[in-house]
């Protein structure tokens, strides 16, 4: 169980933000931080990792205190057992893939976990290559493996898949699900991608202006109504074309464009660019605004 209750004054370009995050995360959960840029998602991860000091507050993890400003406790990042995947992956360019993983292991740590990770993440053929010779998806796999070498208590993923194309993203989502279960991790993910959040996470925290404004299971958070649909997909409206008495709405779902018929009254609140959920009750798909 992770308990977080921290305050910090954060300075953005021209404004100040009162960052105050309060939440609890159960062991073994995969939670997502969702929100606009500058809402404080990365800051939350950095405070957890000890890379950013809060002004006041506390963080306890499995009863151990990582931060407790009242009692002047601040555990250095080195002392927290954390796996962190950075947005730019932060692979060490001077080391091969294998050396990157070996560097991460602690003194006297069993090297078996490295062999295991290389096998699970399918890095065998790449292990002697330098990071700069790898593709984005391959680098991401290395970064993910490296973060797991120390068998961390908490895995922090800062938009790990944002820079990758759709197909590779799907594959890496599977890897994340697999390692999360395999190593019984508590994982905190920062993501913008609603589809990804729906697929991966148990719970989602929506951040606005440095505060958690909503939390819950993803399907509840991202849809206003409870829909008992036969199928649901998240997509984005690309085009709305009137045709006779109805409208034809083109929705981008993952990498497919789907055409849905809607009537004018349904479409009053929707415009091009909106994120929508396409759900079907019986046989006709209905669009629901989610963002």
């Amino acid at each position: 169980m992770i308990k977080i209750d921290v305050h910090k004054k954060l300075r953005a370009f021209d404004s100040e933000m009162n960052f105050h995050i309060q939440c609890q995360i159960k062991k073994g959960e995969l939670v997502t931080l969702y929100g606009e840029s500058g809402a404080g998602k990365t800051s939350t991860l950095r405070i957890l990792a000890g890379l950013l000091k809060p002004d006041k507050g506390e963080i306890t993890i499995n009863e151990a205190s990582w931060i407790d400003t009242k009692n002047k406790i601040f555990l250095a990042p080195q002392k927290r057992n954390i796996g962190y995947v950075f947005q730019d992956y932060a692979l060490f360019p001077n080391m091969s893939v294998l050396q990157n993983l070996e560097f991460a292991s602690g003194k006297g740590q069993n090297k078996k976990v490295i062999t295991e990770l290389i096998e699970m993440m399918e890095l065998g053929d790449l292990q002697n290559r330098k990071p700069q010779t790898l593709s984005g998806g391959q680098q991401q796999r290395v970064a993910l493996s490296r973060a797991l070498v120390r068998k961390p208590d908490v895995l922090l993923l800062d938009e790990p898949l944002a820079a990758l194309d759709y197909k590779i993203r799907l594959k890496l989502q599977d890897y994340i699900t697999r390692i999360h279960k395999e190593y019984n991790l508590t994982t905190i993910l920062v993501s913008h991608d609603i589809g990804e959040i729906m697929k991966l996470s148990d719970r989602v925290f929506v951040l606005e202006q440095g505060k958690i404004v909503r939390q819950g299971i993803p399907s509840e958070i991202f849809s206003n109504q409870k829909i008992s649909g036969k199928f649901k997909f998240i997509g984005e409206i690309l085009k709305i074309e009137p045709q006779d008495v109805v409208l034809i709405v083109s929705v981008l779902i993952q990498n497919n464009v789907v055409k849905v018929i809607a009537d004018k009254s349904e479409m009053q609140t929707l415009k091009v660019g909106d994120k929508v959920m396409v759900a079907s009750k019986a046989f006709n798909p209905i669009l629901y605004k989610i963002e």
Binding site: G50, L51, P77, A90, F103, R150
Partner: protein, 223 residues
């Protein structure tokens, strides 16, 4: 032909460069990472030798290290070091004089590395020193090489400082650049030409090596 001035020059350059490397790496690392208010002051002091006439430095060294005053006397008595008109004095003066040539490349090399490398190493439980030596420095080898070579070449090319603090004592503090000056004054052009040619060729080769290595030409050649 008298080789002593050349030997002294290169001995001085080697010793100075070695000591500078030991000093400059932590100093550059500190300057990149510090949030201290004294940083601009330290940066200014490090850069001063770039703009100050060497004679100014030489003059202050003479005054400071002269056994005639308290500080120079203290060094002389307690450490047994006589820094005026000695090789030791040349080394100390050269270190300060060539400091920016070593510190600046290392500083800029370290500062362009993404900060996430340091942070990644930290969350893996690695200390600052391990991070510096295993992660940061190996990723700015070109800057290190540039720093080493510039400091070396600059020390070889010193004149004013070494003349003032060393006093041009043959076999002890007379370096090649001073020897050239002396030979020209004595109208002994062939000796001057000898020293000058050696210095020219060696410094040319050293700088050429740096550009070849840092430009990746050698790697291509070996392949």
């Amino acid at each position: 032909m008298n080789w002593a001035p050349l030997l002294i020059t290169f001995k001085l350059a080697f010793v100075t460069t070695a000591i500078l490397l030991i000093i400059s790496v932590p100093l550059a690392y500190w300057m990149v990472n510090t949030k201290s208010r004294s940083k601009p002051l330290i940066e200014t002091l490090v850069s001063m030798p770039l703009v100050l006439p060497p004679t100014v430095l030489g003059f202050y060294f003479l005054v400071a290290f002269s056994p005639g005053n308290a500080f120079g006397n203290w060094i002389n008595e307690w450490l047994g070091l006589k820094l005026v008109f000695s090789f030791g004095g040349l080394v100390v003066a050269s270190i300060i004089y060539s400091l920016p040539f070593m510190v600046h490349p290392i500083q800029s090399g370290l500062s362009i590395l993404p900060h996430s490398l340091t942070e990644a190493s930290q969350v893996m439980g690695k200390s600052k020193w391990t991070t510096l030596f295993k992660v940061l420095l190996p990723n700015c080898k070109a800057s290190l090489l540039t720093g080493i070579v510039l400091a070396f070449a600059h020390t070889v090319g010193e004149f004013g400082v070494v003349l003032m603090i060393g006093g041009s004592i043959p076999g002890r503090t007379k370096v090649a650049s001073i020897a050239i000056y002396d030979e020209v004054e004595a109208m002994n052009y062939s000796a001057a030409n000898f020293y000058a040619t050696v210095l020219f060729v060696i410094t040319f080769c050293i700088l050429l090596m740096v550009y070849l290595i840092n430009g990746g030409y050698l790697k291509r050649f070996w392949k």
